[in-house]
């Protein structure tokens, strides 16, 4: 029974099952095909047609653009000494929370010679030392040269990020990292440093905290100094690691250009010292000393008293920010007389030996002029008038020039226009149109009153005379060095021909007469023939009403056989008797230093001594 029924039943079941099974397989197949079709269709949609820009979105998500910062160019002096550069510095920071978690911490002893961990011979393990948090602070404070209490104060609390010290050098940062104090980190910052500090500070200028150039060469040459940031585009996974097979595109950064100045830091330093000395000696408001190469117009030094340190601008008086040599205008006084004399010679109205009968006081057009010393009626040569700086004689001689001639010559000598030096905040000076001159001004301009110039402008007047009558544009930039090393020299700007070489020679002779023929010989640089002119003018009050104090100056050149350098010294509002003040000694010091350090050969020709009087 069992044996019989079972095979038959089994056979029926198998057949039925087979049928059902086949049907199921069929359905399953269809279902699978449908699913497959859907997936395949989706695949085509996503991969092939990219509906919804998925690939782009994914790439955008992976793409990381990193800026490769360009390094700002250096500023160097004429000998290549660094005046400004950008360096890497670190801020030491702390996570106070992390710091508080470790009342004790351990670190492996490091052999200072090899930089490797010291292995304890007893155990064969690294020597590990344990420190308390306070010991860690002590070590930190010693490295950072900060008081223990200050460091402790900055590391305790519940802040995630706090500063412990700013602007530490990479070496110190390395040492700090080697301390392995928990919770102490560092962050890198770029800092602009000025190794020479106040020497040349007002020329170099400075940047603000955001890196914006605010003064000096930093400002005027900002476009050249600023490099071009590069970038690196790569794809990174969610964990921030670069996907190696994805393309990496690097646009390298182009560093800024190095700006080489014409300034010589040693002369600049000396001139700044001299300026400061004069300021302190005479309790003056400010002192400016400019040194210019006569034949190229290159500024060797532009020194101001109380120059600021660009590393620490905040410590300086805001009124000292900037360079007074190019931004402050003062009445030049008697130094202008040489312009009048040169104009007279150039126009053929006089020679250095032309004769003038100079009265004790001169009244012309109802205007009365007198001199700084009392004298009777004197038989003076033009040179004698310049030597003793006589206002009466200058007006007498200069009145032969028409008003327009007086104006035109001053303009040609550069008065009333910016010199064009590449420094910010330059003043053009003040020179009214000759039609607007009042009755007195038309004569006072002949001896440097009723007109205002910057100390640099006055120096450039003498540069014109030193350079055979051609006024040059004062240069302060020698060259640019590109990131790839190519040097781009700044060409000499064409000069303005003001007077003929012969007139310039006569003017130089008269300037030398000031040195050789004066009664109180102060200007004397052993071995060199020098020439120059003193100036004293009343300083207009700052509030514009009347006069308040004086401006005294001396502008000179050397060696007179073939002038190489012009030095201009201007002292604003010295205290005491102005006629007892001379800038001659300072001129000797500065010009002497310039001549000696530039190996200028001593004069070989005898000095010119034009007679002051005629018979």
């Amino acid at each position: 029974m069992v044996q019989n029924s079972s095979p038959s039943a089994r056979g029926a079941n198998a057949q039925q099952l087979n049928k059902i099974g086949r049907g199921r397989i069929g359905w399953g197949f269809i279902a699978m095909m449908v699913i497959l079709l859907i997936i395949a269709g989706r695949l085509v949609l996503v991969q092939g047609l990219d509906v919804g820009n998925m690939a782009q979105a994914a790439e955008n998500q992976r793409k990381v653009v990193q800026t490769l910062p360009a390094v700002r160019g250096k500023i160097v002096d004429v000998k290549g000494k660094v005046l400004a550069e950008s360096i890497i510095r670190y801020n030491i920071t702390v996570s106070q929370i992390n710091f508080a978690q470790y009342p004790e911490f351990k670190r492996v002893d490091i052999d200072p010679k090899t930089g490797e961990g010291i292995i304890d011979p007893a155990t064969g393990q690294w020597k590990v030392e344990s420190f308390t948090a306070d010991e860690g602070i002590e070590q930190l404070s010693q490295l950072l040269k900060l008081p223990f209490d200050d460091v402790k104060k900055s590391v305790t609390g519940d802040k995630v990020h706090n500063f412990v010290a700013m602007d530490v050098s990479p070496q110190v940062e390395q040492q700090v990292a080697a301390l392995r104090v928990p919770g102490i980190y560092s962050e890198v910052v770029t800092k602009r440093v000025y190794p020479m500090g106040a020497v040349g500070g007002p020329i170099v200028g400075f940047l603000d905290k955001q890196g914006k150039a605010l003064a000096g060469i930093e400002q005027t040459m900002d476009a050249k100094l600023t490099g071009k940031d590069g970038s690196r585009t790569y794809q990174a996974g969610k964990n921030g690691i670069i996907i190696p097979t994805a393309p990496v595109r690097t646009v390298p950064a182009v560093d800024g250009q190095t700006v080489k100045l014409t300034i010589d830091q040693d002369i600049q330093f000396y001139a700044q010292q001299a300026a400061q000395q004069q300021k302190e000696q005479y309790k003056a408001e400010w002192v400016s000393i400019t040194v210019v190469e006569a034949k190229t117009g290159k500024a060797v030094a532009i020194a101001d008293s109380d120059s600021y340190d660009p590393n620490n601008v905040g410590a300086s008086d805001p009124s000292d920010i900037g360079s007074r040599s190019i931004s402050s205008v003062v009445e030049p006084g008697s130094t202008s007389k040489i312009m009048t004399a040169a104009a007279l010679v150039q126009e053929g109205l006089a020679t250095p030996l032309s004769e003038y009968l100079v009265p004790p006081t001169l009244t012309i057009d109802g205007q009365n002029f007198s001199d700084s010393f009392t004298h009777g009626t004197e038989k003076r040569t033009l040179s004698g008038i310049i030597t003793d700086s006589m206002n009466t004689g200058t007006v007498m001689a200069g009145s032969k020039l028409s008003l327009q001639q007086r104006y035109d010559y001053m303009r040609k000598f550069g008065v009333g226009e910016k010199t064009g030096i590449a420094l910010p905040g330059e003043s053009p000076g003040i020179l009214a149109k000759w039609q607007n001159w009042d009755g007195r001004q038309q004569y006072t301009v002949l001896f440097g009153q009723g007109v205002a110039q910057t100390p640099l402008q006055t120096t450039m007047v003498f540069q014109t005379i030193a350079n055979n009558g051609v006024r040059l544009k004062p240069a302060i930039i020698d060259s640019f060095t590109h990131a790839d090393g190519t040097v781009e020299t700044v060409p000499q700007a064409p000069g303005v021909k003001v007077i003929s070489p012969e007139t310039a020679k006569d003017a130089r002779d008269m300037l030398e007469g000031v040195v050789t023929m004066t009664d109180y010989k102060v200007v004397d640089i052993p071995g060199y023939r020098t020439g120059g002119k003193t100036g004293t003018a009343e300083a207009p009050a700052d509030n514009g009403v009347g006069f308040d104090g004086y401006t005294t100056s001396f502008i000179g050149m050397a060696p007179m056989d073939d002038p190489r350098y012009v030095v201009g010294i201007t002292v604003q509002r010295p205290q005491g008797n102005v006629y007892g003040i001379t800038q001659g000694y300072t001129f000797n010091q500065v010009m002497g230093q310039v001549l000696r350090s530039n190996d200028v050969p001593p004069s070989t020709t005898p000095p010119v001594k034009l007679p002051k009087f005629y018979k």
Binding site: G197, G240, G314, P602
Partner: protein, 232 residues
Amino acid sequence: MSQNALRSSHVVVGNTARVLTEPLPPVAPSEPKVKKSRAALSLVVSAPRGGRSSLAVTLLLMVAVALGVVLVMSISVSKGQYELVDLKSQQSELIKANQSMEQEIAAKQAPQELAAQAAALGMVPAGVTGQIDVRTKSVSGSPLPASADTKGLVDIPAAVIDTPQAPVPVEAPLSPAAQVNATENSDAEDTAAKASAAKPSAVKETPKPAANVPATPDLNGGTIPGPAQKDS
């Protein structure tokens, strides 16, 4: 050879076959011999079998070698990568160290620094100078030896660089009400704050913005910052 010769003699294409002029020689007696010799032929299997297996071995070896080469290459490349990263970090360390040293030199070359050093060594500025003319062997001017009490010009302060600066404490701005509260609450705290505010001025430097942006790099959701190498 004989077989080959036989086979080649049989290879005759129809129209080039020679016309038989004679009756064929009786072949019957030779037939059994032929059959025997055919039976003696057996399939030559050993040679192809041996060739195939050696090819497989060669291929496997080649694959193994190729894999080995790839392995060695990838190991050496990754090793090189580590070395590269190491060297790059070493380079950046050296650049930094070099930069610091250059800056130190620049600071030491600063004229103020030189003047101070010279003064520390007991040097004084030269007094009156003269010139020596080697051609005429004469000395012009009236040079005098400098005396120890010769004073130089005034000093110019050295640059303020690289003294680690304590951060300037920035007090959170309080509302006026809170300020009143604060002053009422603790005079002692106030004086302490004043003292601490006065301290940083001992180290001269322009105030640093303590509210600097916290320098957490953008990790794009990850925890490991991308390598911070410049270029390539």
